[in-house]
Symmetry: C2
Subunit: 362 residues, 2 copies
């Protein structure tokens, strides 16, 4: 068996130790004679697995009192719809910051719902979404129900380097591609959500962290599955949760704790990102268009000086075991996603390829 | 490693061959150097896995032309809400047949939505949900948007033995706990849905099979994630699907095909159910309350003549490797779920336990 270095934007690389443990336990979890995927979600074994996963996630993020941690389904896309459904409480407007493809989808869903004015408080469209609009330039509404921003844009490779201050208005953030990559002050937020398939675990699990006072206010009332109050009350077990995905995410959380928590993860991620951006900046054959202060530590898009060589770059990368480097079709070029589970050796191998390819073909 | 016989109602036992293959492929799928859970859902490898899973499911069920097969998230519970949202097209009413706990939840969700009169066309409540109301006694509405029934009640252990005739009105069925346990004439239905965690695969995947002409009619228009039209148009990849769950379900489908398809599965399930019901009926110490013609082949609830011996029955069963036999709290007693993946040896071992326990303690 030879493992590749997989730079997929998501679903994405998972820690090899986690996959090995999952393989070892697939037919018999801890001597129970069954796979985790066969366990009743209400049985003793699985409720312990889920409780441990939630406890470890709370430890990693130092989630303060007064926040619920939910394990849901449907991805960030369903949250785009559930957030306005749940958080609108008669206010006339909601504020969104537009930083790229994912912000655009969140804005479109809120508009489609049509229950409040969707105000784009700031947009980076003027420079092709290559930066984070300065907080001083945001035009927030007077009476917004919440302010929403996309903490990391996987396609554009733009990431907020700090949490914006919006005063008392609940701050809501799509953290799908950055949650667990660095320490976070959860107390600054009304609601955080993340599809799992980047830093957390397999696709099919969605994490929602929501402040107590924002739950149960939906007006008009919602059907049960769309109401956070349902899932809070049932401890994420109103209906059968994605049990195996929760188990794998729990293994990832335990590994992160064993490796020093999020402060240590951030140091590893800074080191990987610097290595890669330095290589791109050092070599005129490559370019990354994002304002340096707003560059994503997770997703690194870059272009070759000659796009005619893109296919050759990808083919020679694949020969070295470096896969999933093709950029998103909307921006072209290349993209290297270097989530928590990408080892620095993978980034080193990519940097070697960047240099060798530029030397031979640049 | 000793595998138990796991009678959980769901998530439930999976074929050991499937789990073994999943374990073998966990770190390296077919020499790709990655786990299926790490694959981009839009990459060549995973799109092949998903296409194969859909094709095999279509083959198993002989899905006719004009039906979409969707791989979604959220379980049957989200379908309870999506069905009225999508299928109401200005009609004043919808018809539901009430056969137990799951029908009750479907009815409650439709009522909560409040967009049409929810008519309970027939109910088995008069005899504690121990039978399927005779089709001749159903009081269908004049102008129902659809007729909904629960093909198998996992808690009551009541199953429709045939597909009811409702004329031209779209027939909708929750088949969570019976789909793939027997051949099915899909052409009789407007929409079929099933959570995967019984006969199909892991929790977190929901199968929806819907007729062309019922898609895209929602009025008022829906947000994208709640609209079947979105998922039809995107081939179930509007957003990241539960990739690993689809892969495991695909392995189950392939195994079912290799074992002779649904006709053969039905024969195995009939043999298992007869063995167990015969043992219950033969021994006065045990009782099953369901009308014989309506007894579920999948979920077999039974009581002991002395409920004071329930704990002892469960403990001695566990000693023989027979687990998850405790009945649902709402009905008490025992419940043996004997889905496709429960081998007949598991049922034989349970029957031995029934006889031995009655002989010793009855």
């Amino acid at each position: 068996m030879t493992r590749v270095f997989n730079f997929s934007a998501g679903p994405a690389v998972l820690p090899e130790s986690v996959l090995q443990q999952a393989a070892d336990e697939m037919l018999d979890w801890h001597g129970s004679g069954q796979s985790v995927t066969e366990m009743s979600h209400r049985g003793k074994e699985f409720t312990e697995i889920a409780a441990r996963a939630e406890a470890d996630l709370r430890t990693l993020l130092a989630v303060p009192e007064g926040y619920h941690v939910l394990f849901l389904q449907g991805g960030a896309s369903l949250q785009f719809e559930m957030i306005p459904l749940n958080l609108l409480r008669g206010q006339p407007s909601v504020d969104y910051v537009h930083t790229g493809e994912w912000a655009k989808k969140a804005i479109a869903a809120a508009r489609k719902l049509g229950r409040a004015e969707v105000n784009v408080a700031a947009s980076a469209e003027d420079r092709s979404f290559t930066y984070v609009p300065d907080r001083a330039d945001w035009q927030l509404s007077e009476d917004a129900a919440y302010v929403h921003y996309t903490a990391n844009e996987t396609i554009g490779g733009v990431e907020f380097s700090s949490v914006p201050d919006v005063g008392e208005v609940p701050l809501v953030s799509d953290m799908s591609s950055t949650l667990l990559s660095r320490p976070l002050d959860v107390s600054r937020f009304g609601l955080i959500y993340a599809g799992a398939q980047k830093n957390i675990g397999p696709a099919g699990l969605t994490i929602v962290i929501v402040r107590d006072d924002l739950v149960g206010l939906a007006d008009p009332p919602l059907t049960p599955m769309l109401d956070y109050a349902t899932h809070v009350k049932a401890g994420s077990m109103y209906n059968t949760p994605p049990t195996y995905a929760i188990y794998l995410a729990g293994l990832v959380f335990a590994q992160l704790l064993a490796d020093g928590g999020l402060a240590a993860a951030e140091q590893r991620n800074i080191a990987k990102a610097e290595l890669l951006y330095d290589a791109i900046d050092d070599e005129p054959f490559y370019a990354n268009p994002v304002a340096p202060a707003d560059r994503s530590r997770m997703n690194v898009p870059f272009t070759l000086a000659d796009p005619g060589l893109d296919a050759d770059f990808l083919a020679t990368a694949a020969e070295r075991g470096l896969t999933q480097l093709k950029g998103h079709r909307s921006v072209g070029g290349m993209r290297a996603s270097i989530y928590n589970a990408m080892p620095i050796d993978g980034v080193r191998a990519l940097v070697d390829h960047l240099r060798d390819f530029a030397a031979e073909r640049g």
